[in-house]
Symmetry: C2
Subunit: 369 residues, 2 copies
């Protein structure tokens, strides 16, 4: 099943609920990324502890290793990785373009060589749907071509036509409507008219949700905000909008202010493993010398496992020593904070004080502390 | 406080209880190694879940990073790493000999260069005690020189004299009797008469416990067993014996059969991170192709977190991908098994059926499954 209910708006900001076979998701929502069937450094039980509602798996990576057939044999991705809450898979389009070698885009799909062993593969709009049906995530994505930035208007125009054709073919190939929801992906780069064309064409196909792809690929932030703002008035109010691959805490708030409901990004997890930790007071570089003998927690007001039991000095030591526990604790804190930020944002929207909330938060979030 | 009570013997095998400021330890006991203030991949709460009674810290490593002064400032090692059960630190003697560069052994101690940055340091029998008092572990070790294997009788004889002198000096320097227990370390290589000389001289100094050092350094297993067997009749019955740096599950049982009470080794944790997992049925190389689509747990009868929630196929995938969760799950299982093996052994001793128990277990433990 898949159902989206828009519960409240405050300006363009939205609070809603998505219902799936694996439970409800309250939006706005941030989805931790589990590239290879694990949110790096985290156990599924720790993901519940940090209040993750839904996690993401990468089709490109899982297709290559361990393979969709194996995961299907295991009973699907949920069962394979021991995660019983909602899950989303992407289409692999972004990774094929950014990671694979010698890719060749044709009418029919993309031929590429694995970034692991150079083996040759072919993704088509239909095969990508079949792979995602085998994985069994609650929300899946149409195959898309994600243009790089910068890209000429001509390139983006041509790419967009391909993506729309693929969306149509994928939608036709998709059969598992009872258990999965297939989103269309709006492309069009930084060109508003192309974004509009993309959105309207996808809306004609009537998807249960719309992803916004091709942003956070190097364009200035103002362009990203301009496009999400522009799309707010075009995309249907009664369907969720998912901005792919975004972003920092302030990116999340700025895009929620423009009507986005769903986000995913490796940033909180990847940065945490290197000791760059997001907090409600700003970004903490835990290796900094000033934390050497700082025996207070990362955030004394935080309720996460790392803050309840360990000091900055200890986590600093662990991260410097490249100890796994250091990466774990930093990841736990950053993900807890992302979830808490979304919860606070949702409450502010429901209580009709989002403007005030974002006004207070934005100046703090990007600060280096 | 420190108190050892011998509760039962079965042949030479012993079951006892050690009492410390941080709680009781039931012996025989295996101590997971927390080299740098963390048992690699584990949180302290997971260490409790796998029933760890006591963990070990390495003085050489902690002295270099983050430094004993910082740990003292944090309130001691227990507080720094958030571990409230008993802890043991070694003397650094073994690491100085095996890791440090350009070491120079004098009457007064060892001058050496750090294996990290080449910085120069000097460990003396007194400084090593002071460092361990700053760290604050419940059980600490005399500074010793650990001869390599093979070593000539002359070398071992001379080395032994040094170690005994250092033990005496360390004992004099030690002041924190109220909260810590200082063990003497029996050396003497594979030479029974030197081992006897070492043990008797240390017993004259009257330590609350005796470590057996200089084994598991490359000598044949029969030599190890011969020495522990030989020492059983010499060392006092009413003091715990700790065989340093040992070993495989069968090593533990074979040495318990010769009167050893305490063990530590990086093997279960280090091997687990590479996918070599100890089980009650033998050693499992989880990367093996036959586990690719094996959706049963590592050990279906095991109660550990890894076995309750995850399959061999999933853990194999994680370990192949070098994912942190794979290392965590393999470590959890191997440590759980080591603790369970010690608990079963203890029960067998208390129930006066150790011979039968070891007869059943030994043929299985070293098997590759």
């Amino acid at each position: 099943m898949f159902k989206f209910t828009l519960e409240a708006t405050c300006g363009k900001a939205r609070a809603g609920t998505i219902e799936t076979d694996h439970g409800k998701i309250q939006t706005p929502v941030f989805m931790p990324v589990g590239t290879l069937g694990t949110v790096k450094a985290m156990s599924p039980h720790e993901l519940k502890d940090i209040h993750a509602q839904i996690i993401l798996g990468n089709t490109y990576h899982l297709y290559l290793r361990p393979g969709a057939e194996l995961i299907q044999k295991a009973g699907g991705l949920h069962k394979f990785i021991s995660w019983d809450r909602p899950m989303l898979t992407d289409s692999g389009g972004f990774q094929v373009m950014s990671l694979a070698a010698l890719r060749k885009i044709g009418r029919d799909g993309v031929q590429f060589q694995s970034h692991i062993d150079g083996s040759r593969h072919h993704f088509t709009p239909e095969s990508v749907i079949a792979t995602q049906e085998a994985l069994g995530a609650d929300i899946i994505m149409s195959f898309d071509e994600c243009p790089p930035f910068p890209a000429t208007r001509e390139y983006v125009t041509k790419s967009l036509a391909t993506t729309l054709r693929w969306a149509e073919r994928g939608k036709k190939a998709f059969t598992n409507h009872a258990h999965q929801a297939l989103f269309g992906i709006v492309q069009g780069g930084i060109y508003e008219d192309l974004r509009q064309e993309s959105a309207l064409a996808l809306m004609d196909m009537d998807f249960p949700g719309y992803s916004i792809g091709g942003l956070a690929v190097g364009e200035p932030k103002e362009d990203m905000f301009r496009i999400t703002d522009f799309l707010h008035d075009i995309l249907p109010q009664d369907k969720p909008r998912y901005l792919m691959g975004v972003g920092t805490p302030s990116d999340l708030l700025n895009n929620i202010a423009r009507g986005v409901d769903m986000f995913d990004c490796v940033m909180p997890t990847r940065n945490a493993r290197k000791g760059s930790i997001f907090t409600r007071h700003g970004k903490m570089i835990i290796k900094a010398a000033r934390y050497e003998d700082d025996f207070s927690p990362i955030d004394p007001q935080c309720g996460c496992y790392a803050c309840r039991h360990f000091s900055r000095a200890y986590i600093r030591h662990l991260i410097r020593m490249k100890e796994i526990l250091g990466m774990r604790l930093a990841t736990i804190h950053s993900l807890w904070f992302y979830q808490e930020l979304m919860q606070l944002t949702r409450t502010a929207i429901l209580e009709d004080r989002f403007e005030e909330f974002i006004g207070e938060m934005l100046p703090v979030l990007d600060r280096l502390i």
